[in-house]
């Protein structure tokens, strides 16, 4: 099989859909769906292929070889499958989501082009190819987010492009330094021992690009506005899943393959500190959100922290856990975004205060959302628990004070994640049913009482099932996908804990959970005949009106804002004080204003600059 076919399929799909008008219903959707199905088929076939290289010469400029190098190996193989899967599900979901809304005719072509570029990143064996494809993904993200509604979407897209553009530039600098310093930019030929300042600089620049795409603090601030204002399926596709896969892919690639760290270098510590900070900062912001999409977007930031902790620990189990967590995160986060989209589709709102009691009318969405929410909170037996467990194991095995500290942070983050998702589940699906504001349009009223359409349900169900399967049978994906990447054998490794013991054995616990659920069900079943008594509430003599006094999920954790240190942090963070985008634009404005003052528009000033300039030139050339 020719590797290039993996680019051609989405590229051709994009080209065909680009020519089609949106007037014919579902035409773009069907072709995009077919395209991604074919891609997935080839990706599955590629999985069983042997590793291979492909080199296409393009041109040389002096000593630099601009050829296109590709390499198919374990890591790219399994990523290809998931790229294809996520595209397929996103296209299917979009078909349902946009059946009544308007979307630009470039939406579906750009989704296919994103797949093509992401494939190029995953297959690249040359940092130049990787760079170009990397920037293309950023560019496509910019356009996709800008397709959201109104000015806020444009602003969010601009912010995303600004932050990612900055880090793309960092990657550019690093990539350009490679052929000058190491004579090649072919990834498999590079083996850089981190030691001299140049190599550290290159690593840090690449690392910056990787974590910005994945969304770790302090380069995270593009995700929340993009998630809130961008078109929802595109958000589930790029910032929530693909960007995470790609960001972590690059990070893992450079950390594991390209750069060699001396033992106990500061860089590992740096990665873990960033990871810890991301968990703490992300989860504190996450728990305060009262809007579903921004809650999910902060959660998307928090989870990156776990991946960084895992890979940064340098422990084989931690690395495997980190990569597995990347995969799991993409699965459940897309599922969460999809279910929030379904809720939005029916109720036209994503404010927690205006939602409630949807579990009865939207059972499938509720189940999918619940599974994904429990996964992300690290509840066994779902997949999120397995990968988090592996990361904890590696931290425990670190046996130093710092790694214990990180362990505490990680567990704390996990607990707060659970808290925030209870809030989400309660506020949206459980609790009291919120009568939607009396809408003049009966269609909305009617819609609100039904579950999402099947095109939206299938992606959610698929992802929720994956959450369960990857949890119950975690050893399969780890053995098939992840162990080969880091050269980990399931048995007989010399590390102090082998992957066999690090892997949590779900059989017993699952059985116990199921038995527990069964007993609970039986208790419920036999006690249902008992007549329930309704007592009037007594609250200090005050009247409590059940109709008007509601338990708002968004107020669950309001007390945090009132605490001293944390409260200040959360409040300031909400205002964007810690946003690197705001900080740097303020700094830039100072420079702009100074220069503007100098240009006063008076001819004699300008003339004097010219004369002084000439004088200085003469002085330099004649006297010195």
């Amino acid at each position: 099989m020719n590797l290039l076919i993996l680019f051609y399929i989405p590229a051709i799909t994009a080209a065909i859909t680009l020519l089609l008008s949106r007037r014919i219903k579902y035409l773009q959707e069907i072709i995009s769906f077919a395209g991604s199905l074919v891609f997935l088929n080839y990706a599955l076939r590629a999985f069983s292929l042997r590793d291979q290289f492909l080199k296409i010469s393009w041109f040389n400029i002096s000593f630099i070889d601009f050829s296109l190098d590709f390499r198919l190996y374990h890591f790219s193989k399994f990523l290809l499958i998931f790229l294809g899967l996520f595209t397929l599900l996103t296209v299917l979901y979009s078909a349902g989501y946009f059946r009544q809304r308007k979307i630009s005719r470039f939406y579906f072509p750009f989704i296919s082009l994103t797949l093509s570029s992401a494939t190029a990143i995953v297959l690249a064996n040359n940092f130049f190819v990787l760079l170009v494809a990397w920037e293309l993904v950023t560019l496509l993200l910019f356009f996709l987010i800008a397709m959201g509604e109104g000015k806020p979407a444009a602003m969010a897209a601009g912010k995303a492009f600004a932050i990612l553009g900055f880090t793309d530039v960092a990657l550019l600098l690093a990539v350009i330094a490679l052929p000058i310093a190491y004579n090649t930019w072919i990834i498999t030929d590079l083996k850089i021992l981190v030691g001299n300042p140049l190599s550290v600089a290159i690593y840090v620049l690449m690392f910056t690009a990787a974590i910005a795409k994945a969304g770790a603090i302090p380069l995270h601030s593009w995700i929340p506005p993009a998630a809130v204002h961008g078109p929802l399926p595109a958000v589930a596709f790029l910032p929530a899943s693909l960007d995470k896969l790609l960001g972590v892919y690059l990070f893992a690639r450079i950390t594991l393959d390209v750069f060699e760290f001396p033992i106990d270098s500061g860089l590992n510590m740096m990665i873990m500190i960033i990871g810890g900070a991301t968990i703490l900062g992300g989860v504190l912001m996450q728990i305060m959100q009262s809007e579903l999409k921004s809650l999910l977007s902060y959660c998307a930031i928090t989870q990156v922290g776990y991946i960084l902790l895992g890979i940064g620990s340098g422990h084989p189990i931690g690395i495997a856990g980190g990569i597995f967590h990347m995969l799991n995160h993409a699965i459940y986060k897309s599922c969460l975004f999809f279910s929030v989209g379904a809720v939005e589709d029916r109720t036209k709102t994503t404010q927690l205060d205006k939602l409630g009691g949807l579990a009865t009318s939207m059972p499938v969405t509720f189940m999918a959302c619940a599974v994904a929410a429990l996964s992300v909170s690290g509840i066994p037996p779902f997949n999120g628990f397995v990968s988090k467990w592996m990361i904890y194991q590696s931290l425990v095995d670190g046996r130093s004070i710092s790694s214990m500290l990180f362990l505490v942070i990680a567990m704390f983050g996990s607990a707060l994640t659970l808290a925030s998702f209870l809030k989400l589940l309660y506020g949206t699906f459980l609790g009291q049913h919120q009568p939607s504001e009396k809408s003049a349009d009966p269609a909305i009223q009617f819609n609100a009482n039904r579950d999402a359409t099947w095109t939206m349900r299938i992606p959610m169900i698929t992802l929720a099932l994956l959450c369960i399967i990857f949890g119950l049978f975690a050893s399969y994906p780890i053995k098939q996908f992840i162990a080969p990447v880091i050269g980990l054998e399931t048995a007989g490794i010399t590390a102090s804990i082998s992957i066999g013991t690090a892997l949590w054995n779900p059989t017993l616990a699952t059985t116990l959970i199921i038995i527990g659920l069964l007993i609970g069900f039986l208790v419920y079943y036999f006690s249902r005949f008992k007549v329930r008594e309704v007592e009037t509430l007594f609250i200090g003599g005050e009247k409590f009106d059940l109709e008007n006094e509601k338990l708002f999920a968004s107020k669950f954790f309001e007390f945090i804002e009132r605490t001293k240190i944390l409260g200040g942090f959360v409040r300031e963070g909400g205002k964007g004080i810690f946003d690197i985008y705001n900080i740097s634009s303020d700094l830039g404005l100072i420079g702009v204003n100074v220069l503007k003052k100098l240009h006063d528009g008076i001819l004699s000033t300008y003339l004097s600059w010219c004369i002084i300039g000439l004088g200085v030139l003469c002085f330099i050339l004649m006297v010195m």
Partner: protein
């Protein structure tokens, strides 16, 4: 074939005057006369691609006494740029200029500007160069003032005064050179200078030319005229000024004179790089704070010319290639951006970014072209600006100017920021109520922009097909500058 060379100058120069006479009899013909001329020039330049370097003695007066025109890879590159951009700009101008009166005068001045540029590019005679330089400059002073509003007249006046100063300084430099060498033929002068000349005099001339041509190419601190002059002109002229004039009269002259006549020396290289670096940074900072679309573009011209100057100042093979490549790319995308700004102004009546929005939906062709150009100038792959910036940064790394490389990269990022601003305010977002009735611009304007947008995409991707013929040949000439004397003089 060689005898056709003067037509590059004669055709637009002659047509400028014929046009004024013919419009007395046939109204509305001037636009089409200009279009025919531009088409002819474009065809002619394509015929000349790949031609061996040669010189053409005007009126059979042999050099060094007579005036010569010289065709070589460097002039080939510039002539090609001028022909293609003017073709697109003329297509755009035909509907656009309907808004103005005195169109025949516009096209005459426009053709004079082209004649001046082609003359500067082709001439092998120093005084002749000055004459053509003045033709192009004076035509552009008049064109900047073409709208005759207060703002435009003020801008034109500033431009006139500062441009006049630089012309005088250049003339002084030429006079000094003439007194030192006794010849005005550039090749002859190069040979004479090579035999030895007072070092002080040579450096004084360098200083004069640095200021003179530095002002023409808007290097900081000689840049102050540009942000006023370029936005004030009608959009097609802004495109010509930013896309072509500053290159033909500024950068090209620096490359031609410094490398081939005077002979480049390290200290001049350093000065060029310092001026270039300064222009990059100052230009981009000023651009980021702008809300007037055309003014923002004008400041970016300063910044982008800085890139070219840095590349030329490096004078390594990679640096020169990057500079030449960026020259070509900048001509394409900056003209396109100015045309787009003109198209927006044409339909919406404003160039304030804050008053625009959602134009991509109403004007898909213009909007898409604008987006392509904005991404090109911000150095996003796969558009052309990315490749030339990449090469310049590579060259800076190779020559171990790490600091300047980082500065270049940061400037590139700030360019991206300011063009994100353009896109998010003008193209995306919601359409203001006031603009709900706007429609896409006429098809001729679209075709002008479309050609340039295609070039933005194609130039980068198809480099292997034309790079050797067009760009690397010009680069090789600049490296072996002494070859100039082999073919420019018998």
């Amino acid at each position: 074939m060689q005898n056709w060379l003067p037509l590059f100058v004669m055709a637009p120069l002659g047509m400028a005057f014929i046009n004024l006479i013919l419009t007395k009899f046939l109204k509305n013909i001037s636009a089409y006369l200009a279009l025919i001329t531009v088409f002819f020039l474009c065809g002619l330049s394509f015929r000349f691609i790949g031609h061996e370097p040669f010189h053409y003695a005007i009126g059979s007066w042999l050099p060094p006494l007579g005036i010569t025109l010289v065709w070589d890879p460097l002039s080939q590159l510039l002539i090609l740029i001028v022909s293609i951009i003017t073709l697109a700009v003329t297509l755009f101008a035909i509907p656009y200029m309907q808004q103005y009166t005195a169109q025949s005068k516009f096209y005459s001045l426009y053709l004079l500007m082209i004649a001046g540029m082609n003359g500067v590019i082709l001439t092998g005679d120093f005084f002749n160069l000055f004459v053509f330089l003045e033709i192009a400059s004076i035509a552009s002073y008049a064109l900047v003032a073409f709208g005759v509003e207060a703002e435009e007249l003020e801008a034109s006046f500033k431009y006139l005064v500062l441009g006049g100063v630089s012309s005088t300084i250049i003339l002084l430099g030429i006079a000094l050179l003439y007194s030192a060498t006794g010849t005005l033929n550039m090749a002859d002068m190069a040979i004479t200078l090579h035999q030895g000349v007072s070092k002080n005099l040579l450096f004084f001339i360098f200083a004069l030319f640095l200021m003179g041509f530095g002002l023409k190419s808007a290097m900081v601190p000689f840049h102050a005229w540009l942000p006023d002059a370029h936005p004030s002109a009608p959009a097609p002229i802004s495109a010509m000024l930013s896309g072509l004039i500053i290159k033909a009269l500024g950068i090209y002259c620096v490359a031609r004179i410094f490398f081939m006549v005077l002979g480049i020396v390290p200290v001049i290289q350093t000065i060029l790089m310092v001026l270039g670096g300064l222009s990059m940074v100052v230009g981009v900072f000023l651009a980021v704070g702008q809300w007037d679309f055309k003014r923002l573009l004008a400041y970016h011209s300063i910044s982008q010319m800085g890139y070219v100057m840095v590349g030329i100042g490096l004078a390594t093979p990679l640096g020169l290639l990057g500079a030449i490549f960026h020259l070509l790319n900048h001509a394409v995308f900056k003209s396109l951006l100015f045309l787009c700004s003109g198209a927006f102004e044409y339909t919406t009546g404003t160039r304030q970014l804050k008053q625009l929005g959602g134009l991509l939906k109403k004007m898909p062709w213009t909007g898409a072209s604008c987006s392509v150009a904005a991404l090109s100038i911000s150095g996003v792959p796969p558009f052309n600006g990315f490749w030339s910036k990449l090469i310049i940064i590579l060259a800076l790394f190779q020559a171990q100017y790490y600091f300047l490389a980082v500065v270049t990269v940061i400037v590139s990022f700030m360019t991206l920021i300011s063009f994100i601003k353009v896109q998010k305010y003008a193209l995306f977002g919601t359409l203001p109520k006031r603009l709900e009735s706007i429609r896409e611009v006429p098809v001729l304007m679209i075709s002008g922009m479309f050609i340039l947008a295609l070039l933005c995409i194609g130039i980068g991707l198809f480099y292997p097909f034309y790079g050797q013929l067009i760009l690397e040949s010009a680069r090789d000439l600049l490296i072996n500058a002494s070859h100039y004397t082999l073919y420019a003089i018998p």
